[in-house]
């Protein structure tokens, strides 16, 4: 531990503390102060997560940087934090994305700036909390707390149909997670009063109980991922949310669901996970193939990327539930890559929307003539989304397909169709928006990327390329954690 600092606590509480400070700047008269303070908070929040990576022991299994303090003694709830390789990458991704979102909203958001910036800082802290909680109740509290700021973000700064989208987002995800709470309380009772996830990992459970608990978990996490057929909130939320909201939603919030599968479902109810793997895989493949086709026909860019997100997250759940090393590592890599790529794509749409105030593909055409630099960066992200080798999108998908072949040829065959559909919907959209003759006077008047926008997209382009060419720094921190996880999954917990 660096200088004995509780790094995980800092990763959670630094953004939240800055969020409070940003809120305290009050009205829009102090917007500049709010922006600067938010940037400072986001950068500092990212800075405190860096030692987590440099001091992470890639060979050690189990949880590192653990912190433990009693929290609610009458319920035996503890403030118990710790992280493994999966958490590490997600925490880094989250803190990094928060910096980008603050910069991306710099000039775009002009009303209630303090509240906007503070919401994202709170979100960042809460989500780091989810990724590092080792106590089930702490996990649940952070998991639910993320809903409040996102609800406000979509509802206040969103598009015309924002209220419908915000309520749908909130109620849909809350509906998913209430049964999670019941399941956790049940586990608390059968484990003689413990909320510790580590205790749950050792708790023997009969298959019936495991299956019921599995479904309670599944409902919560499947809504969050989102898996087909409980994905319908996502296109609405994405389309209506402001750019920053879409970025955080796609890049991190969706990962909470997949992370829940990895941290809770697989180790706590391994036998049920095995028994129901076919079911989850089937839903994942439907998401990959069917939602890929749905993405193809979208006329709205944000909706298209939203559906593409669902399709890509299908890959993640597929990778998790084939229970082998390649699949699992591939799933995590895919999560991180999707965080960068989908965030970047939403930012690209945001760039266009800020200029022309339209998200419709039909309103554009020939943008490359007026915004060549933008077109180049957009190209990179579109290629990454399509899974082109040399970009981050390829690595995760390739590994998952590799893992899927081991499980069953047909899984792999179905999953591999995404290479076709993904390329089709992404590149077709790209072609219609960017290439061709200048479609209308609006496009002709588009100004090139500003320095700020270039900075944001550039910061995202770097990891996309690095991950594609040299994925080792990302993959090596996962090895021990994935082995741990697979050990948990293979050990039966039937009494």
């Amino acid at each position: 531990m660096l200088l004995g600092l509780p790094l995980l606590s800092l990763a959670i509480w630094v953004p939240i503390a800055f969020g409070v400070a940003v809120l305290a700047t009050g009205s829009d008269r102090n917007a500049r102060a709010a922006r600067l303070l938010a940037l400072a908070g986001a950068v500092l929040g990212f800075a405190v997560t860096l030692p987590l990576y440099t001091r992470f022991d890639t060979l050690a299994g189990g949880f590192q940087f653990t912190e433990f303090a009693p929290w609610i003694q009458s319920f035996n709830v503890n403030y118990h934090l710790g992280m493994d390789g999966v958490s590490l990458l997600l925490i880094l991704l989250n803190s990094f994305t928060t910096v980008l979102v603050v910069i991306a909203g710099w000039e775009v958001i002009r009303t209630r700036v303090a509240q906007y910036m503070a919401s994202f800082l709170f979100l960042s802290g809460f989500m780091n909390g989810v990724f590092s909680a080792l106590d089930a109740l702490l996990f649940y509290v952070f998991f639910e707390a993320t809903l409040i700021p996102m609800f406000i973000v979509i509802g206040v700064w969103g598009g015309p149909n924002r209220i419908y989208a915000a309520l749908k987002f909130f109620l849909y995800t809350l509906a998913g997670s209430v049964l999670l709470l019941v399941a956790l309380i049940y586990l608390y009772n059968v484990s003689d009063g413990s909320f510790s996830l580590l205790d749950y990992y050792r708790l023997p459970l009969s298959l019936t109980v495991q299956i019921l608990v599995f479904f309670a978990f599944f409902l919560s996490f499947a809504v969050k991922v989102p898996m087909w057929p409980v994905h319908t909130w996502l296109p609405d939320a994405h389309v209506e949310a402001p750019t920053g909201g879409s970025v955080v939603l796609a890049a991190i919030m969706l990962k909470l669901g997949a992370y829940g599968f990895i941290r809770l479902s697989l180790p706590i109810v391994p036998d049920a996970s095995h028994a129901l793997a076919g079911f989850v895989i089937a839903l994942s493949l439907v998401a990959v193939v069917y939602i890929g086709l749905v993405a193809l026909v979208q006329a709205d860019m944000k909706k298209l990327i939203a559906y593409s997100s669902i399709s890509h997250m299908g890959f993640v759940t597929l990778g998790i539930f084939i229970f082998n090393k390649h699949g699992m590592e591939g799933a995590v890599i895919q999560m991180i890559s999707h965080g960068f790529v989908s965030g970047a794509l939403f930012l690209c749409v945001g760039v266009l929307y800020d200029r022309a105030h339209s998200r419709m593909i039909a309103d554009y055409g020939g943008v490359v003539n007026t915004m060549p630099v933008f077109a180049a960066l957009f190209m990179l992200f579109a290629m990454a989304n399509a899974g082109l080798p040399g970009t981050s999108g390829f690595v995760g998908e390739f590994m998952v397909i590799l893992g899927a072949v081991k499980a069953s040829f047909w899984y792999a065959a179905a999953a591999a169709t995404t290479l076709v559909f993904g390329a089709a919907y992404t590149l077709w959209m790209y072609k219609r928006v960017i290439f061709g003759a200048i479609a209308n006077p609006g496009v002709a008047a588009l100004p090139e990327l500003s320095a700020r926008e270039f900075l944001v997209l550039g910061l995202l382009a770097a990891p996309v390329l690095v991950m594609g060419v040299w994925p080792n720094p990302f993959a090596e921190v996962l090895q021990a954690s994935v082995n741990d996880l697979l050990n948990h999954v293979t050990q039966s917990k039937l009494p």
Binding site: G26, Q73, L167, A175
Partner: protein, 482 residues
């Protein structure tokens, strides 16, 4: 300790009774312009009672009036919270009363007598004491609801409240008389012994139980005895609604504890009343939460939400064990302060000739005053039970108790209705944050209201982050008095 005065356990009640009489008389000599003096005296009386309660508290239960009256840890904690609730209510409602010509001595005297009634209920160890306290509280509340003489709505509400309340009291008394017939005693501790000695289920006892539970249901406002709640909450002046919806719920909880848990807590009887409470709890959760969605008036919405919350409270109690009672106490305490905050906000936004009681009146509050909108947001999320607010832990404790008692299906039903409930709380947040303001009058409450409101709202967050001590307090005080 042989020098302890026999009446020591009842000192707070005696003090408050004396002060209420003094204020009643003193108020006659106070001119309308100096009515603040009565207000200050009332606050002082409550503070004094709090000090006496604190000083005379003891870990062991102390009995007086030949065992009719008990002073134990639960009663001390509940009384202290009740004083706090009433004091906060007085602060919140001061400006509202003044603007409507209700800032009169009677209001304060009635409030003090109602408080006295709650205290007697909380400390009762005898069915007659219990009844006495209940009637003192209820009669004061009836007259407070009717205080606004020229308001047809308030008069109607008072009438409904009175008629239905009298009916409930009748049922309760009938049930109590049967209990006396079956056991030959009215003292709660002896009643418990007598029932254990009686063994098996006695038909008279079960009948008595039905009447008692029905009476309790009326007082709590649980379905199917909830009809009066929305009308009274809506019709009464908001300053009275905030009172009805806050501290008396603590007394109602004590009432249930004394009667069901202590008096009728024998194993075979628990199973009998558990059945009834399950039906009432589920029906309250369903009707309260679903009907609240259709409301456009915030006071009515909160009335239906109260019915839903009472369903949750009953869920805690019906678990019939220490965790369940502890959960119930935590729930009711949290509920009282959430309700105080929510109605306090209505009072804060009201002004002369304008009641901020429609949902629409909260439109765009975030643009008018981000701070109050934020506090209301905390209160609403706490009512909905979303972490990290304290309302979440209240629900968590209840669910834990219910699952511990083996009713997983009840927990599932409860969370589903809590989910439905989340919708209408969210709608208020939506109005405050997402809509443009319709009203642009400046919001400038007095400094004391400002601070109290802030403390009340932030308490939702502070106790949400550190709920441990309050939980422990509730469990310990239940433990000490069972």
């Amino acid at each position: 300790m042989e020098y302890i005065t026999p009446l020591l356990p009842a000192y707070p009640e005696l003090f408050l009774l004396g002060m209420a009489c003094v204020i009643l008389l003193a108020d006659l000599f106070v001119s309308d312009g100096n009515r603040v003096a009565t207000y200050a005296l009332a606050q002082l009386a409550l503070a004094g009672a709090a000090a006496i309660t604190y000083v005379t508290s003891s870990a062991e239960p102390a009995y007086t009036f030949s065992g009719m009256f008990v002073d134990d840890l639960m009663s001390d904690v509940l009384k202290l919270l009740a004083y706090l609730g009433v004091m906060a209510m007085l602060v919140y409602s001061r400006a509202y009363l003044a603007a409507r010509g209700l800032f009169r001595g009677e209001f304060f005297v009635l409030a003090l007598f109602a408080t006295l009634g709650m205290m007697v209920m909380i400390s009762a160890n005898h069915l007659l004491t219990l009844y006495l306290g209940l009637e003192l509280l209820a009669l004061s509340l009836y007259s407070m609801v009717a205080l606004q003489r020229d308001s047809a709505l308030a008069t109607e509400a008072a009438m409904k409240y009175f008629v239905l309340g009298a009916l409930a009291s009748g049922m309760l008394l009938y049930g109590m008389s049967m209990l006396y017939g079956a056991t030959g005693t009215l003292e709660i501790t002896r009643l418990a012994e007598a029932i254990v000695n009686l063994g098996g289920a006695d038909v008279v006892l079960v009948f008595a139980l039905v009447f008692v539970v029905a009476g309790l249901g009326f007082k709590l406002g649980a379905v199917p005895f909830h009809m009066w709640v929305p009308d009274v909450y809506h019709g009464a002046p908001t300053a009275v609604t905030i009172f009805i919806g806050s501290a008396p719920k603590l007394a109602a909880f004590a009432f249930i504890m004394r009667l069901l848990a202590q008096g009728l807590g024998a194993e075979h009887l628990v199973q009998e009343w558990q059945q009834m409470l399950i039906v009432m709890a589920v029906a309250s959760l369903a009707i309260g939460n679903i009907t609240a969605i259709a409301q456009t008036n915030l006071k009515r919405m909160l009335a239906y939400s109260t019915i839903g919350h009472m369903g949750f409270l009953l869920l805690g109690i019906l678990s019939g064990d220490l965790t369940g009672y502890g959960a119930g106490m935590f729930y009711v305490v949290v509920y009282v302060f959430m309700n105080l905050g929510a109605f306090g906000m209505i009072l804060l936004l009201s002004r002369s000739g304008f009641e901020a009681e429609e949902l629409e009146d909260f439109k765009g509050l975030n643009a008018r005053s981000p701070w109050y909108a934020f506090l209301m947001l905390l209160l609403m999320f706490s009512m909905a039970g979303v972490p990290p607010t304290v309302g979440f832990y209240a629900k968590l404790m209840v669910l834990q108790a219910v699952i511990n008692a083996g009713f997983i299906w009840l927990a599932v039903v409860a969370v589903l209705f809590a989910l439905i409930g989340a919708f209408y709380y969210l709608r208020l947040v939506k109005l405050m944050y997402f809509d443009a303001p319709a009203d642009t009058a400046p919001i400038a409450p007095r400094a004391d209201v400002r601070w109290l409101m802030s403390a009340n709202g932030l308490a939702m967050l502070v106790f949400g982050i550190l709920p441990g001590p309050l939980m422990t307090l509730c469990i310990v005080s239940i433990q000490a008095s069972l």
